[in-house]
């Protein structure tokens, strides 16, 4: 759906060059919910705004639905934008129009005949559950309701792609969940590709199929959400994962553990389970099989898009040779193992 190649964006402010995107390449598949996460200033908004050319790339190529969007002429770009919906952190609804008028706005722009536009607007209001609020003005709505209007508006012209720039960042956790659920619903209902950016790993966890981590204007990691949660490959990704599953251990624990007396050794490991293996008694069979001691220091289980995802921090102690075998055994059973210290 989207194919970004070597995208670079440099802002020039008062003769100073700011590189917001540095040689970014990324592919978003049709029908998936793709998340981009990064810290403030990493370049997320710039990236998503390049995709509908609200920001003009300095270099690189962006293919949307098989067409190079960066070289479009004005009228081509306008037509293309009608098929790319966008929702915003601060909703950006017109205060001069009612909910109904706001949703009908993109249809007016697309010159849809009035009767048809009215019908479509009613349909959209129904979809987002705001039929009762049709005559209300945006200022009379809650944040969640405003974002629903934003979503209805973005979907008006049956886009193939929806861009979301921190659409839930101004909402409370519960409202965030309901908006994310709505996004997931429309994703499966219309096979709509969604590209969303966020700085909240919970959002990634709740709705995304795949995720890219952007840091300092560069993509540092791309992968299935589950894999990134199980084995984050970069320090930024790891710290994001930790915000959700709280793997941070007290440093005393990391230092105090590992009392080697020559023959036996202790290691601190982090074990991640995905899917079915989260339900299997892998740990207990390892203990039996290798005759080592395992001390559970921390554990939790969560769901990522309905797939169980478990996370354990263990202190394993036993003869060093056996410990290696035991860990290999866990790996062979499909678990992600990470050694936190090894004294």
């Amino acid at each position: 759906m989207i194919e970004i190649k070597n995208l670079t964006k440099i802002f020039t402010v008062a003769k100073q060059k700011i590189t917001a995107l540095d040689d970014v390449s990324l592919t978003v598949k049709k029908g998936e919910i793709f998340g981009i996460i990064g810290l403030s200033g990493a370049g997320k908004s710039t990236l998503i705004r390049c995709i509908n050319m609200l920001e003009k790339p300095t270099a690189g190529s962006i293919m949307v639905d098989g067409r190079e969007i960066t070289t479009f002429k004005k009228h081509e770009l306008r037509a293309a934008r009608q098929k790319i919906g966008m929702i915003f952190q601060h909703f950006n609804l017109l205060s001069s129009r009612t909910v109904f008028g706001n949703v009908m706005f993109p249809l007016e722009i697309a010159k849809v005949p009035h009767r048809k536009a009215v019908k479509r607007t009613l349909e959209l209001l129904e979809l987002v559950g705001l039929t009762e609020k049709a005559e209300a003005y945006p200022s009379q709505l809650s944040g969640g309701q405003k974002q629903r209007v934003g979503i209805a508006r973005a979907l008006a012209n049956n886009p193939k792609l929806l861009l979301s720039d921190e659409a839930t960042s101004a909402l409370d956790p519960q409202t965030t969940r309901s908006i994310l659920k709505l996004l997931r619903d429309i994703n499966s209902k219309f096979n709509l590709t969604i590209l969303l950016i966020t700085h909240d790993m919970n959002v990634i966890k709740e709705v995304c199929d795949r995720v890219a981590v952007i840091d300092n204007s560069r993509i540092v990691e791309v992968g299935d959400v589950l894999n990134v949660f199980a084995a984050p490959g970069s320090p930024v990704a790891r710290s994001f994962v930790e915000t959700v599953i709280g793997k941070e251990l007290p440093t005393e624990l990391l230092q105090g553990s590992g009392t080697g007396d020559g023959q036996t050794e202790a290691v601190l490991v982090r074990v991640a389970f995905i899917g079915a293996s989260a339900g299997e008694p892998v740990i207990s069979s390892m203990i039996r099989k290798y005759d080592i001691a395992a001390n559970i220091l921390y554990g939790n289980i969560d769901r990522i898009k309905d797939i169980p995802f478990g996370n354990l921090t263990l202190e394993l102690s036993g003869p060093s040779r056996v410990l290696q075998d035991a860990m290999d055994y866990l790996r062979s059973r499909g678990l992600e193992i990470e050694v936190l210290n090894n004294v």
């Binding site: 934008r81 790319i84 966008m86 205060s95 129009r97 706005f105 722009i109 200022s139």
Partner: protein, 220 residues
């Protein structure tokens, strides 16, 4: 003090002033509104960024605005004559009043339109809206309350300017006050004139405030 003659003169002059102010307000918006819009959309980073146009327009507007009205009035007598055949009287006054108000209106409109949150324009752009749609469906409707207050300010200023025009034979309350009040030093007409002016200005302001408030209230 309020004899029939005075009342009649006062009514006529008031009518002339209202006539001048209303027409010159309308005419000045006919040109000032588009100019204000152009000032905004051609400004850096806006939807039709164009440095030369923006600069030149800004410069002309500032130049006209820096001429005191009383001088401007005399300066454009040839234009007034060309347009209405004479430079004396109520109709003729509308020309300098309008021309002087245009740059003023353009700046007022510019200020109103610049208050609009950029996010709204960006949202419209993201939907594929063109320049015309953005101006007519986003910028002007969003700025409506503020634009209405601008109209009130313009009309009030024009009440003042029209009095000045009255001194050089423009008619209306200005001529009345000048002719009887200043040249003949007849105070009996000065005070009623001032009172009518105060009522006019207050009325226009109240009307503007009311309209703007009504819209804001509806929008919540």
């Amino acid at each position: 003090m309020f004899d029939a003659w005075l009342v009649e003169r006062l009514l006529l002059a008031t009518w002339e002033t209202v006539y001048m102010v209303v027409l010159s307000t309308v005419f000045s918006y006919l040109l000032g509104l588009p100019l204000g819009v152009i000032l905004v959309v051609t400004s850096p980073g806006h939807i039709m960024e164009n440095k030369p146009i923006n600069r030149v327009l800004g410069w002309i507007i500032n130049a006209v605005r820096s001429i005191p009205f009383i001088i401007f009035l005399i300066l454009i007598i040839p234009i007034t004559r060309l347009l209405v055949g004479t430079y004396i009287g109520t109709v003729a006054s509308i020309v300098p009043l309008t021309l002087a108000a245009i740059p003023f209106v353009a700046r007022l409109v510019e200020t109103s339109l610049k208050e609009i949150e950029w996010g709204l324009i960006e949202a419209a752009l993201s939907m594929g809206a063109g320049t015309w749609s953005i101006i007519t469906k986003v910028m002007l409707p969003e700025a409506k309350p503020s634009l209405i207050l601008g109209v009130a300010i313009t009309a009030i200023s024009l009440v003042g300017y029209s009095a000045m025009a009255g001194i050089v034979g423009g008619g209306g309350l200005g001529t009345l006050a000048y002719y009887y009040g200043y040249q003949r030093y007849d105070n009996s007409i000065m005070w009623p004139t001032v009172i009518v002016l105060i009522i006019l200005v207050q009325g226009v302001q109240m009307l503007g405030d009311n309209l703007a408030q009504r819209i804001n209230k509806k929008r919540g």
